[in-house]
Symmetry: C2
Amino acid sequence: MAKLSDVAARAGVSVSAASRVLSGDPAARLSEETRERVRQAALEIGYQPNFAGRALKLARTDVIALVVPDVTNALFTELTRGVEDEAVARGCVMLLARSEDMQPGGEMFGRLVGEGRVDGLVLQPRDGADPKALAAALGKRSPVVTIHQALPDASSVVVPDALAARRAVEHLIALGHERIGFAGGLTSSPTAQRRAEGYREALRAAGLPYDPALVTWRGYQEADGRAAAAELLTRREPPSALIAANVNAAVGVLAQSRAQGLAVPEDLSVVAVHDAWTAEHTWPPLTCVRLPLYELGRTAVEALANAIAGGPVAHRSVDSPGPVLVERSSTARPHR
Amino acid sequence: MAKLSDVAARAGVSVSAASRVLSGDPAARLSEETRERVRQAALEIGYQPNFAGRALKLARTDVIALVVPDVTNALFTELTRGVEDEAVARGCVMLLARSEDMQPGGEMFGRLVGEGRVDGLVLQPRDGADPKALAAALGKRSPVVTIHQALPDASSVVVPDALAARRAVEHLIALGHERIGFAGGLTSSPTAQRRAEGYREALRAAGLPYDPALVTWRGYQEADGRAAAAELLTRREPPSALIAANVNAAVGVLAQSRAQGLAVPEDLSVVAVHDAWTAEHTWPPLTCVRLPLYELGRTAVEALANAIAGGPVAHRSVDSPGPVLVERSSTARPHR
DNA sequence: ATCCTCGGATCAAACGATTGCTCAACTCAT
DNA sequence: ATGAGTTGAGCAATCGTTTGATCCGAGGAT
């Protein structure tokens, strides 16, 4: 690989001069002619600054890690894109890591944070992860921004979960549904709490009663949705429509409905909060409320950059674009 | 962060002594007592070697990049896990990147390879990518191992695609099918070629005719499967079963069958080559041939380690475990 | 002529870890 | 007692970049 000293030699200047030219130091006093010669030389031998040398000197790697529960889950597609785009825009490289590997005491944790491989972390804690343990492990070791959930002493970014759930309910009410169930996430999940809150608000706003018998708190997995549907659909007065707190759970709801001989949307309408591309390929394609996850990713990186720069802890909500209903084929007017 | 000199100071030894103890240099002559003191000191102040310092000196980052066409595609789940596990086992960190960002001349390419951020690449070229351009761009800049497809001058690892397709056909033949279609990938895709080859072999082995009218070469996307099914199912004598060259395409086949009023598996059996978790959640759940993708990932990293160590170019096939049929609900005996 | 200033460019010291070489002290054989 | 060999440990150079300090000459002001 070409080094800076090669560039300098070829341009007939000192290494320091070359460095100043290439890093565009405005305070440097160098003739335009010299600058041009250095730039030429760099171009000709295809110079690229050595990462390690620079990182050592600057104590900065320009790498940020995105830590999510499951890297290959479709739910994270948009988020990942958002984080990556913003990272690249800021001259950073994004490193993807699984939360699973990022246990406080774990190997990866040490390598990424302890060895100084990353400048900061965008972290989505696993549902059920202990916020205090996480916060303690991170300590002041590395700037962190969490998404969907706040940690003590770290900035966080969330999306309008309540409003999204509310939009879902409103859609069903507009179709004429009155008994609307809610297949929620774990009670320990802040997003699940907020989505449930939106569900309640929407019912209240429409003058419909809140019936705890129509609400479950199983989780965000496909199996959880299945279990939730199994429970809710065998109620004495079953709901005519169901909100699933997430796409994966909605897939489970679909499967269970089918298993019980119910047709969607004829016998049961289903709406999922949180859109993902998989929702288009289920049967029937799922009506969803799309959340601004791409923007969540971008905003998180922005917040992280602030944190790295030593800015104060801040908690933000990504409100634009707002949640919007994507109507597909899993919702219809109630049967009778 | 604690530095090596801190450890040395605390243990009352020189930096070099501390370094030798901690890196376990066997040739170093140091008393056991000194070693113990250094280890203690390191433990007490929570020392972890600084990544940049070490990378600079050793000209090695212990980072390998996995470059796939679409990070969040379910198809890559297993591969990713395999690569990561093997990387961690070898003391490396895995960096995930999208092929999209890794265009030969691109930004990411420069940052990862040009700046020396990674020791090597495990690369799955996008379908339709120009192998020559890629090889040229990589040049001798960085060790590379490709998967699914070979590049000039680089090691590669593949899975037994032909055999997998063959297993799929054999399953359908065993059920009694005789008109079996094949919704393949692009003709430019080596995996698609191999899977088609296996399809042909299986037919030949069973004494069934190979009918080009039952074969399409659309691609691996859901829309491609949809288009393929649309074409094949409107033939004068439509197939009673279809092999989809990949899970995503199979999802499209399922959707299109439904759209044409055909029930799966009653009117049409469908088998996908290449299993993924999404196959369990389609309707009906897809019968698949599972490929050893986890092992593919591990093997690729192994091959990459060889390449980094300066070993010769080698081309391997991951034959164990062999492809195995995972029977779900999308296949049945033919209708009449 | 002297003192300043300023443009143009180089020197040299970091950053943190690794490693070849040197050095002191001690043991042991001659 | 002298030299060789061994053991235990430190010195200092090095990896590639950045950056504060320094140096040199030319021109301007006094």
